[in-house]
């Protein structure tokens, strides 16, 4: 018998701190699998955000740097401009990327910064205990939208992928989900393509991953997958939002 599935080498052999059933772990593994398959662990430099994935610097075997809340694209820009031949990526949540770091995200895309961003959208602030995120859905109950998010007073959720697809500098933007095996496999393909986009020097790449937060959604891990499928995917349609990678 041959081993057909094991922990990827680029993922550190440690216990991830995430809650049971949190899909951060799946996405961490997918990133590591892609680093392995493209053979780029040795030239990769990752940037960890503030949020649930704040400890991400301990989870990948490549060089890692932390960033202040929302500033990961700026930090990644600094690293990439020093080492244009290395592979620089950030891993950010929705509060980090789509609220406090919106300016850094949009401008990195507009500059066509040749970096890769893995964007976890779970429609809530996880680390601080379940507050409304920029991506929380209308009607979604959180600690800071206890009566359900009311767009009249609390605004509408932001579709970052669609917004970033409007920028000329973005080369590849796709939204994926990790709610089932098929979608996890698609997510990996998208992440691989995003890194390949950077390796080919094509410019800014971002993969938005619809992800679960069972703890703060108040659901079991399995219920959370269903909630994602039934509520998030209709509001955040999956698919490629921008692809300039085939252009010369």
């Amino acid at each position: 018998m041959q081993q057909v599935f094991k922990k990827p080498n680029a993922l550190c052999d440690v216990n991830l701190h995430y809650c049971p059933g949190c899909t951060h772990g799946i996405v961490h593994r997918l990133v590591a699998e892609v680093l392995d398959e493209l053979g780029i662990e040795g030239k990769a430099i990752g940037v960890a955000p503030v949020g649930c994935s704040v400890f991400a610097y301990d989870y990948w075997e490549c060089d890692m740097q932390q960033a202040a809340h929302g500033r990961a694209p700026a930090v990644a820009t600094g690293i990439k401009r020093v080492h244009p031949d290395k592979v620089v990526f950030t891993y950010q949540g929705d509060g980090d990327l789509a609220s406090i770091g919106t300016a850094e995200t949009v401008h990195a895309a507009m500059r066509g910064e040749n970096i890769t961003i893995i964007f976890i959208n779970n429609a809530i602030y996880g680390m601080t205990g379940g507050q409304m995120a920029p991506t929380s859905l209308p009607g979604q109950v959180t600690q800071t939208s206890p009566y359900g998010r009311d767009p009249k007073t609390q605004g509408y959720p932001v579709r970052m992928s669609e917004m970033l697809a409007q920028t000329d500098g973005a080369a590849y933007i796709e939204r994926v989900s990790v709610d089932c095996v098929k979608n996890v496999n698609n997510a990996k393909k998208a992440i691989k393509k995003a890194f390949q986009t950077q390796l080919d020097g094509k410019g800014f790449s971002l993969v938005e991953v619809l992800s679960t937060c069972p703890t703060n959604w108040g659901k079991s891990p399995i219920e959370a997958l269903d909630w994602l499928r039934e509520n998030m995917i209709p509001y955040y349609p999956l698919g490629v939002k921008k692809d300039k990678t085939t252009e010369e």
């Binding site: 030239k43 990948w60 060089d63 740097q65 932390q66 960033a67 500033r71 700026a74 401008h107």
Partner: protein, 347 residues
């Protein structure tokens, strides 16, 4: 001997940074430091460097954080309100023990304030910028020539002690032209940056640049180690000239004129000019505390450095203050009058 050229303070600083091996500049326009960015935009591409105009001061400083972590000599510059925004990254840079140089060409505050020369950011520079227990080395040039030498020193000190170094001037110093030589002199030997995120190349364990330390004992030990390094810096790097009115930067130049006149009037007075604001040259003040009968601190602020002077002399001698703010520059006559009043009161 290098050739003497006539050059503006801000541009001298930018060129000195390039001569010091800085190839990464990240900035955002703000008066009165914008010449630094404009000069870098022109020069960096010619020397194979990077000039990047960021979307905000926040982003610019965090790009410096990234570049510094990646092992480069990185520079950003701004003026007072912009430095408030850069404070976030400075705290992270200090917390991650990274070297970088940040320039504050101070304008009058608070708020949007004005764009005239001021020294009202002394507290911010020496006592608090970002959050947490940390310090920056703060250098205060008072001539364009000194800007060149202190810029080279700033990069060396940053690399040697792995911490952010600020060069603090004001609009007058940044905008004035003086004849200078671009000769950096002998430089120190500096350690290798084996901690930088350069990619493991699969040849070493991964480098992690991080300031998040969840265990209180570990964090305390880390901060204490940093403060031991600060003590070493205080003992070896503090510099000052030795006289009796005390002032730094642009103000010190005006004080020198006042001193010439005061001496003509028979008042024995000299200048103590801190070149490093942090570490503050306490020893110099202590040395004179028994020898002078009064100290006058002259600043373009409502009195900030004066607190450090008082702490340094520890009530052994009265410390007076004279200052202008809002972008007003003190005239020599005002300083002479203030000193005469003190000298008269002593008689």
């Amino acid at each position: 001997m290098a050739e003497k050229v006539l050059v503006k303070g801000n541009e001298a600083l930018a060129e000195a940074a390039i001569l010091s091996g800085c190839r990464h500049y990240f900035g955002y326009p703000i008066t009165p430091q914008t010449e630094i960015a404009a000069y870098m935009a022109k020069r960096m591409p010619k020397v194979g460097g990077v000039f990047l105009q960021a979307e905000s001061e926040l982003a610019a400083a965090n790009m410096v954080f990234g570049a510094a972590g990646a092992g480069a000599r990185a520079l950003t510059s701004s003026s007072s309100p912009g430095i408030s925004l850069k404070a976030e990254a400075l705290s992270y840079i200090a917390g991650c023990d990274l070297p970088c140089v940040v320039v504050n060409i101070v304008r009058a505050g608070p708020g949007l304030g004005g764009i005239q020369p001021a020294q009202s950011d002394y507290y911010q520079a020496t006592k608090g910028h970002g959050h947490g227990d940390y310090q920056m080395i703060v250098l205060a040039p008072s001539s364009v020539q000194e800007i060149i030498h202190l810029t080279a020193d700033a990069f060396d000190l940053a690399d040697l002690y792995r911490m952010p170094v600020m060069i603090m001037g004001d609009g007058m110093l940044g905008q004035m032209m003086e004849p200078v030589e671009f000769d950096l002199g002998e430089r120190r030997k500096l350690p290798e940056k084996d901690w930088a995120t350069t990619g493991t190349d699969m040849k070493r364990k991964h480098n992690i640049i991080n300031s998040l330390i969840m265990n209180p004992d570990d964090l305390e030990a880390c901060v204490r180690a940093r403060y031991e390094r600060y003590e070493q810096i205080k003992a070896t790097e503090a510099r000052a000239e030795e006289y009796m009115i005390t002032a730094y930067g642009t103000t010190a130049r005006i004080v020198k004129n006042a001193i010439v006149e005061l001496r003509k009037k028979g008042i024995k007075v000299g200048l103590v000019r801190p070149i490093t604001l942090w570490p503050f040259p306490e020893a110099t003040y202590k040395k004179y505390a028994d020898k002078v009968s009064a100290i006058l601190s002259v600043e373009m602020s409502m009195g900030q450095m004066v607190d450090d002077v008082r702490l340094a002399v520890n009530d052994k001698v009265p410390v007076h203050f004279y200052g202008r703010t809002g972008g007003n520059i003190p005239y020599p006559d005002e300083i002479i009058k203030a000193m005469e009043e003190i000298a008269g009161g002593d008689k």
